[in-house]
Symmetry: C2
Subunit: 148 residues, 2 copies
DNA sequence: CTCCTTGCGTTCGTTTTTCGAACTCAGCTA
DNA sequence: TAGCTGAGTTCGAAAAACGAACGCAAGGAG
């Protein structure tokens, strides 16, 4: 059981990496953070096949990243996919990807969207910091202590 | 061309998400940040098939995330895979995943490794902040402005 | 020189995923 | 009654991943 076995590895980095490293999952989360909530809209905007979309949504539901929420439309009850608190907590992951993308993968200046702090209008970035002294950290500043 | 077309989408989040969202790529980067550098070691520790490993390494080389660096062993010249500056800059992405994993996916207290700030011994975490006022931001604090 | 070992891939036939078009189904609407 | 719509499910074809075997270059041993 090659890839799937990472889902049970005792590693706080490996497990999320395996979950979000499945094809389409990160792009699906991006779309969700951009406001998409309905099956048809995911399917239309991402051009993902319906069967895979079903599968990925179910995995994220099962993991507690998404929840199905009923809503009314044309007098009918339907369901939409929304982030749970656990799902919303993935925001730093997406922002770290975007911060990296802006620095290293910006195609031109053509971005599909902009982000601003509502209160002050400033930009948004992800950073790694020390929980004690608050210093910004790079990989070189961090000591890795293996457990085996 | 469904998934692959995201590689050229004009979005600083979508492009990295498509690149790192390919199966094995995040787990490969995890292994690299943990210090693995050689083909055989990736293959042994991750149980990835050799052909897919070759492909993923080549994609990361092509994207400039990794570079092949010659080194000596037993008097022979060999090559190892190392992070470029672009690659090292992915650190916040991995740390954001780990911060999330610690909060939401910790299996037990059994972690495979620990991280500490070399200077003060503190813990490590990723956070999102405003580039102007420095406030920590959640998804709710950020205004998304679409471009089309 | 010839054989053996090692690290690093490549090849290739089989199994898994993904694709995409068609189908299903429930709940309105005309 | 028939039609429409959102949300999936099904299924045959195509693509990707798997894994065991093969290739190959550079040393070392005999």
């Amino acid at each position: 059981m090659p890839y799937a076995s990472f889902a049970s590895m005792p590693c706080a980095l490996g497990r999320p990496a395996a979950l979000l490293g499945e094809r389409w999952t990160l792009l699906l989360l991006r779309q969700i953070f951009l406001g998409t909530r309905r099956f048809e809209d995911f399917q239309a905007t991402m051009e993902i096949s319906r069967s895979v979309l079903t599968d990925r949504l179910n995995v994220l539901l099962q993991e507690g990243v998404l929840k199905r929420v009923p809503y009314q439309e044309d007098g009918r009850t339907r369901h939409e996919y929304r982030l749970t608190e656990k799902g919303r907590d993935l925001y730093p992951v997406l922002m770290a990807l975007r911060t990296w993308g802006e620095k290293w993968m910006a195609p031109e200046e053509e971005e599909s969207f902009h982000l601003h702090h509502r209160d002050c209008g400033g930009g948004v970035r992800a950073r790694v910091e020390c929980t004690d002294c608050g210093a910004e950290l790079t990989a070189r500043d961090v000591q890795v202590t293996a457990r085996q």
